[in-house]
């Protein structure tokens, strides 16, 4: 099996000498051939050119493949000159500098560089570099360029498009078509960003996270596997980490903090805004996979004597801060749940009606120590989008939304897998 470094840009290995078993130079790396694999095409062979001859060497025969050394696990004299087949995809010839168009055919930018990375032990094409950094790297002045731009207070960012966004490539293509529209490219969905992030090495990952704005980082962080989350939070400055945690829904922030060493978690909680910190602290006290651990403390609760009109007004104010607005819980002074009003019923009701008139009773609730499985069954049985969770006194403490238990409701195979490193 070839030994390669975590991530390599094609421009860094292009025209690098390729050595044979004995250390003799066979020629220069001319191109890299990839298969048609999904979502990331794997490297199948490399093309080496030496004078007029070209050699196509299968990936299995490569010994080392990194920025400094590329070596073949054979002697030079056993290699026979060959040409790449016309159906092959050569990434320098066929992909580099090609036009990228969005799903509507609008031109975006060209492929400045291509990133190869480790996907489940295979070297695969993982992303297209579309930024200035890629352009400078092609010119061989990435580091110098970065320093010069730093003088002008310009931070050179990484601009990559994950290969998952590129429609299947075919031989002899003239342009790369994305699966998204151009408006979406600047704000790639965090879940997919997470995908590319788990494909790259730890160092790169921290760099990528560093370049994201706090909100995107908050969303992306949740999509990662717990161990990766911990790594990233660990590498980040404490201030930034706590900023990101504040922006995450409290239940998700609690999940992340729960996986950190206790001292570090406490330190971060202390840096967070008081209100958010309290919510998170409360959630962290519950077992991870019980209703108490799954729930979010942000929900809509209104008194029974409120009119529909007032409730809608209030709803507008509260909506941005809560996870779901489809259920309004009607609670008394003791925070006991008297009833529930769905968003639909609220909108259809007369403005002057009281919430107590239109609410549905009684409301099924869950105890905080209910198992995740029971929560899932509960949600499924009553067809709910969220389930209310009450403490021993019957006071409403939070809600578990359907997305937190959906994994349990689906057959094993289609469950969303947390991305592993």
């Amino acid at each position: 099996m070839p030994f390669f470094a975590g991530e390599i840009f094609v421009s860094e290995v292009y025209k690098k000498p390729v050595l044979d078993q004995t250390g003799e130079e066979i020629g220069k790396l001319k191109d890299v051939i990839v298969g048609l694999g999904e979502p990331f095409p794997a490297v199948t062979s490399v093309v080496i050119s030496s004078g007029k001859d070209t050699y196509v060497v299968s990936w299995d025969m490569i010994n080392l493949f990194n920025r400094r050394v590329i070596s073949v696990n054979a002697r030079m004299d056993v290699l026979k000159p060959a040409e790449a087949a016309s159906s092959d995809i050569l990434i320098c010839r066929d992909l580099l500098d090609k036009q990228i168009v969005d799903i509507n055919g609008a031109k975006l930018v060209r492929v400045n560089d291509l990133e190869l990375g480790d996907v489940k032990g295979k070297l695969c094409l993982v992303a297209a570099d579309i930024g200035l950094r890629g352009l400078l790297r092609r010119l061989g002045i990435e580091k110098r360029g970065e320093k010069i731009l730093a003088v002008f207070k310009y931070k050179l960012q990484r601009k990559l498009i994950a290969w998952t966004y590129v429609q299947t490539v075919e031989p002899k293509l003239t342009r790369l078509t994305l699966t998204v529209s151009r408006q979406k490219v600047s704000s790639l969905h965090p879940a997919d960003l997470a995908e590319i992030i788990s494909e790259v090495s730890q160092k790169e990952r921290t760099a990528i996270f560093g370049s994201l704005d706090v909100e995107t980082a908050a969303e992306a962080l949740h999509e990662l596997e717990p161990r990766v989350q911990v790594d990233i939070i660990d590498d980040m400055s404490k201030e930034r980490a706590s900023d990101i945690l504040e922006l995450m829904p409290p239940d998700e922030a609690a999940d992340v903090l729960g996986d950190l060493p206790e001292a570090k978690a406490q330190e971060l909680i202390n840096l967070m805004e008081k209100e958010e910190a309290e919510d998170v602290q409360e959630l962290m006290e519950h077992e991870d996979n019980t209703a108490g651990g799954l729930m979010t403390t942000e929900f809509l609760a209104f008194p029974p004597d409120m009119t529909v009109e007032e409730a809608i007004k209030e709803l507008r104010l509260e909506a941005p801060n809560v996870e779901t607005i489809y259920y309004l819980y009607i609670v008394d002074q003791n925070e006991h749940v008297n009833g529930v009003v769905s968003l639909k019923n609220l909108i259809l009701a007369m403005p002057q009606a009281l919430l107590s008139d239109i609410m549905l009773t009684p409301v099924k609730t869950l105890p905080q120590d209910a198992e995740q499985k029971d929560v899932a069954e509960f949600v499924s049985k009553y067809n709910l989008l969220a389930a209310p969770v009450v403490d021993e006194t019957g006071a409403l403490r939070g809600i578990v939304t359907v997305d937190d238990v959906v994994d349990f409701l689906l057959p094993t195979a289609s469950r969303k897998k947390r991305r592993k490193l």
């Binding site: 500098d97 990228i100 031109k107 975006l108 060209r110 400045n112 092609r138 010119l139």
Partner: protein, 434 residues
């Protein structure tokens, strides 16, 4: 644009309205409409070669040498037609601009080098066009602080607000205004026999004045921006391969018209200024010098011609730059696009106009130095563009079956070699003079 005589006759003979309708339907299928639909990029690109600098050169050539260099125009026509045809063909066959092809076939380094030269070359020429607008309007007593911003705004507005069709028609209209020079030339009442004799049997001299004028003439008429513009405009227009015959006609008509206009400029100054022994150094001086000798009308025609030429090129240069850069970096481009759809394309277009006009507004701007830089950078760029063009047009992976034929290659390589030789000579001499 020839309507077959039989058709015209058929029309005149027919008296019944039904037949008339039929005739209209028939003529709609005729080639003339296809030609009219396809014509544009070649004519505009060619005429844009007769920009402020071109007009100045031709005026000077006529004033200094009379009809002695008219024969060169015949050669330039051929060279222009050969080069422009290849540009147009590449655009039609590949559906890509020159910038696209350079980036895809030659990579980042070559592209950046070409683009850097291209930006500097075009920016300096754009400044020259706004200088031409200022100079011509000053002949009518309009101060440059009024004429230049107005012209800049017009040039900007038409492209930003108009669609491709409207912009092309507008530019074609401007191209037709060049015919004022034909009027000037004919009005000067030249001795036609003598003109014909000097073209057929030129007395070629080997002194430096003559050779320098010869080279400058060629250098000013064939410039990189014309090739960039032509190919991009053909692509933006969406000319299809079936229509290529007409696109070729467009290119040849453009080349002919360009030199036809140049011919009459030389004729006018050669007939009026040369015998009087008046030496001019610019187009506006030529216009002024015509006043006492040929009357105010001739002078005004020349001024209008200069204004017109400057305005056309003030459109074409920023457009060519915006097209070229957008292609090289893969940004959305096209006259039909809005600022939101193609921000970089229209951004560069706007920036070029603002800078080009802005420099002219600066009091005591070093225009002579800028023009020298312009000539130098264009001279450096042209050989690279031509060689890259020949390599692209002969690459089967780019052009498929539409690569140059052997005969075409012989003609084009000779043309390109001569052009490169002359360009290098121009560079050397201009440095020696500087």
């Amino acid at each position: 644009m020839n309507i077959p005589p039989s058709l015209v006759a058929g029309c005149l003979e027919s008296t019944q309205p039904v037949k008339m309708v039929e005739w209209i339907r028939k003529i709609k299928d005729r080639r003339i409409f296809v030609i009219l639909a396809v014509i544009g990029p070649g004519v505009i690109a060619g005429n844009a070669g007769n920009d402020a600098g071109g007009i100045a050169t031709y005026s000077i050539v006529g004033a200094r040498e009379g009809y002695g260099l008219l024969w060169v125009l015949v050669l330039i026509t051929v060279a222009l037609a050969v080069i422009q045809e290849m540009s147009s063909r590449m655009g039609v066959v590949t559906g890509k601009g020159f910038g696209d092809l350079v980036r895809e076939q030659f990579g980042v380094k070559v592209t950046l080098a070409i683009m850097l030269l291209f930006i500097v070359a075009n920016l300096t020429v754009t400044i020259a066009e706004f200088a031409g607008i200022a100079a011509s309007m000053e002949l009518f007593g309009v101060h440059k602080n009024i004429s230049v911003p107005l012209a800049a705004f017009l040039v900007w507005l038409v492209v930003v607000k108009g669609n491709f069709k409207q912009v092309e028609r507008f530019l074609l209209l401007i191209s037709m205004t060049y015919l004022t020079y034909v009027v000037s030339g004919v009005m000067s009442n030249p001795p036609w026999h003598e003109v014909a004799r000097q073209i057929a049997l030129p007395r070629i001299r080997m002194d430096s004045d003559y050779i320098l004028l010869f080279i400058t003439m060629v250098g000013t008429t064939i410039t990189p921006y014309m090739q960039f513009y032509l190919q991009s405009a053909v692509v933006d227009k969406g000319v299809r391969i079936e229509e290529y015959g007409y696109a070729k006609f467009d290119v040849y008509a453009g080349a002919f018209m360009t030199i036809f206009i140049a011919f009459f400029i030389v004729l006018a100054t050669g007939t009026i200024l040369h015998p009087a022994g008046i030496v001019v150094d610019s187009a506006e001086e030529a216009a002024q010098a015509l006043q006492p000798l040929a009357g105010p009308f001739a002078s005004h025609l020349f001024a209008v011609g200069l204004l017109n030429a400057s305005v056309l090129a003030a459109f074409v240069l920023p457009l060519a730059t915006a097209y070229g850069l957008s292609e090289a970096f893969g940004w959305e481009s096209g006259v039909n696009k809005s600022f939101r759809e193609a921000p970089q394309f229209l951004g560069f277009y706007t920036a070029f106009i603002v800078i080009g006009a802005g420099v002219i507004m600066i009091p005591d701007a070093p225009l002579i130095k800028i023009m020298f830089l312009s000539q130098t950078v264009n001279g450096v760029l042209l050989p690279f563009v031509l060689i890259i063009m020949l390599r692209l047009v002969n690459d089967p992976s780019v052009m498929g079956e539409y690569v140059n034929s052997r005969r075409m290659n012989i003609i084009s390589w000779i043309t390109v070699s001569i052009l490169i030789l002359l360009t290098v000579m121009l560079l050397v001499t201009s440095f020696m003079l500087a």
